[in-house]
């Protein structure tokens, strides 16, 4: 069983997303610890990419701030080494295929294992292209996380059957970002997922309020929140950690 399963073993999972190096890596480390101290079950760490095509304006902004600050893949690896001195919850990377490919896929994925990264989320690597990295992920014991979208329809069963770690269910059409309302019929998607796998399923994209998190985790195994946290970082910068902690606490209590 993958380490990721432990995040879902004691109830619903709250999964915060944080772009590494926004505004600097010291702040990222403090924010991750604040989130974990307040009940985050799994942490999604974003390695910034120059052209994040699946992201809305908020996370695009975080990517630009991080890259402008000089963050690199190697510096993010160092951050994880530091975090792993005391952080025990599962951690996964969220980045784009080129960041992995360009670093050298084997070098990247073996480093993930060495530093304690449990999974990899690549929004531009659909089912048809997963062979690009899957053999290496299996070799090094890093779960390659599958995404399922509102438009997946006839593809849900196929993707779910081969899913590892957890399934990232995209709540809505479009890019990441806060939404006032999520209209997709997620229950019926989750039903098909359940029929095909026992791998847990967490919902992300557009979730910002405790009410939304409660609703999303009631129909799945957890809620993923990115843009709402990045907005706190945008507002408080280097002083964001306690505010993120407070926010995570409210979300964890809600689910």
């Amino acid at each position: 069983m993958s380490n990721i399963a432990s995040a879902f073993s004691t109830g619903k999972a709250f999964i915060p997303f944080i772009t590494c190096g926004d505004p600097d890596l010291e702040t990222t480390a403090a924010v991750v610890r604040a989130a974990v101290d307040n009940g985050a079950s799994l942490v999604e760490l974003g390695i910034p990419f120059s052209d994040p095509t699946a992201e809305g304006p908020v996370i695009q902004g975080a990517n630009i701030r991080a890259l402008t600050g000089g963050v690199t893949t190697d510096k993010v690896f160092d951050l994880v080494r530091d975090l792993r001195q005391d952080v025990t919850v599962p951690m996964v990377f969220m980045t784009y295929a080129n960041v992995v490919f360009s670093y050298g896929a084997e070098r990247f994925i073996s480093t993930c294992r060495d530093i304690g990264i449990d999974g990899l989320i690549l929004p531009d690597l659909p089912y048809e292209e997963k062979e690009e990295f899957l053999p290496l992920c299996r070799e090094y014991g890093v779960d390659l996380i599958s995404l399922i979208a509102p438009t997946s329809e006839n593809r849900i069963a196929m993707i779910a059957k081969e899913a590892e770690g957890f399934i990232y269910l995209v709540s809505s059409l479009g890019v990441t970002g806060v939404r006032s309302e999520i209209k997709t019929d997620l229950e019926s998607i989750v039903k098909v997922i359940r029929e095909n796998t026992s791998v847990p399923c967490a919902i992300g994209f557009g979730i910002s309020t405790p009410e939304q998190a409660a609703k999303m985790s009631s129909i799945s195994d957890g809620a993923i929140v990115g843009s709402a946290i990045i907005k706190i970082l945008e507002k408080y910068g280097k002083d964001a950690a306690p505010y993120v902690g407070e926010y995570v606490k409210s979300m964890v209590e809600a689910i």
Partner: protein, 396 residues
């Protein structure tokens, strides 16, 4: 050349969000249904000929040939097409396909504005809604084309993210497509992006080399020794190359925008300076840093100012079938002025990159050799920017 997964050697593929997968599968199925359908092809040919103005001329540039003193030079006049560039070949094909698929809205990216204008034109003709994404920097460089698109009824959205040029316009169009798929076709303008776009766009542009071949056989009774075209994403180049790929004696030469030079950071010469990566839905060559961050490329030409190249070009480079040469801003501007004065033809600054290389190549070849240069577009849109490059303060 395309295998079922849309690969050209190691290049190509479908590196896109899951949200878009069914959309590209639907597109591939529709394309496979219509590409060999005689009715669809007859309708498209009628559109290309009667509306688009095809076939375009293959013009013998006698003065240029004499002046350069080497190979005979022919110009494939895609600049004479309706809307002023080769872009219309692809757009009429995709718009017709979108109509058959029941789509009512076209979205597109544009660099120089030629693809945006062509898409806006097709949308007007087919009665479709049209939204064009254009880097804010390019809306300034190509203000006339922004006006043309709006005149044709399209909404033009200036993209401010990243370098505010073509790559950011592509990213934004992809983001828009993920948010609205059911009624919207993404009319991609070059032989790039996820499968099946590189194949579809190539097939619609292959009319260029099909005509060159027929026209050349008629005029000269033989094939040319070299065909030359500019390469950004590479649609006019693949159109120019495609029907000659199996004719091994025909040199295929793509001219990349070197900007201020391939030894500087201000360049967009992807094959010459980039390395293999994954971006915008495809594996291909990209200008990028050691960590895979896409480089902020530069060229005077908004249409070639792109950090990647279509996957079939990457493959033709890998197997040594096509050559990709860098041409600087200065060489392109000189060629822009040269063709205007020598032949009375003002080429697009993109196409001027191909003219520039031909000026170097022709004198090294014997007089019984033949070169075809594809003039992919006309240069009216570039006059103000070139004047400014030369220090004249002209505003449109």
């Amino acid at each position: 050349m395309t295998n079922p997964n849309g690969r050209f050697g190691i290049h190509g593929g479908q590196y896109i969000p899951e949200t878009l997968m069914n959309a590209v599968i639907e597109l591939e199925e529709a394309y496979n249904k219509y590409k060999d359908d005689p009715e669809f092809q007859a309708e498209l040919t009628e559109l290309l000929n009667e509306y688009g103005g095809r076939p375009s001329r293959l013009y013998y540039a006698a003065k240029m040939t004499k002046d350069l003193g080497g190979a005979k030079i022919y110009l494939k006049r895609e600049d004479l097409n309706h809307t002023g560039a080769h872009k219309v070949n692809n757009v009429l094909g995709q718009a017709l396909l979108a109509k058959k698929m029941g789509k009512t809205r076209l979205i597109a990216e544009t660099g120089a504005g030629q693809h945006g204008v062509a898409t806006a034109t097709a949308a007007a003709l087919f009665g479709m809604e049209c939204v064009v994404f254009m880097g804010e920097e390019d809306t300034k460089r190509q203000a006339l084309n922004v006006y043309r698109m709006r005149l044709l009824g399209a909404e033009v959205i200036p993209v401010k993210s990243g370098t505010a040029t073509l790559k950011d316009a592509v990213s934004e169009a992809m983001r828009e497509w993920t948010s609205r798929i059911s009624d919207t076709h993404y009319c991609l303008g070059s032989v790039m992006g996820p499968h099946p776009f590189p194949t579809i766009v190539r097939d619609f542009q292959a009319v260029i080399s099909k005509e060159i071949k027929e026209q050349m056989l008629k005029k000269e009774g033989r094939l040319p020794d070299a065909v030359i075209a500019c390469v950004g994403g590479g649609s006019n180049a693949i159109g120019t190359f495609y029907n000659f790929i199996e004719d091994k004696d025909v040199r295929l030469i793509g001219c990349e925008a070197a900007g201020r030079g391939i030894d500087t950071f201000e360049t967009a010469a992807t094959v010459n300076t980039g390395r293999v990566g994954i971006f915008h839905g495809m594996k291909s060559y990209f200008c990028q840093d050691e960590y895979g961050q896409i480089a902020p490329v530069y060229s005077i030409s908004a249409g070639l100012d792109y950090p990647g190249v279509g996957p079939e070009h990457a493959y033709l480079h890998d197997i040594g079938r096509a050559e990709y040469v860098p041409v600087t801003d200065e060489e392109a501007v000189n060629a822009f002025e040269y063709l205007a004065r020598t032949e009375g033809i003002i080429p697009a600054i993109e196409s001027a990159h191909a003219v520039a290389y031909a000026r170097k190549l022709a004198p090294t070849m014997d007089k019984d050799k033949i070169i075809v240069i594809t003039i992919s577009g006309r240069g009216d849109k570039d006059c103000a920017a070139i004047a400014r490059y030369r220090g004249e303060d002209i505003h449109e």
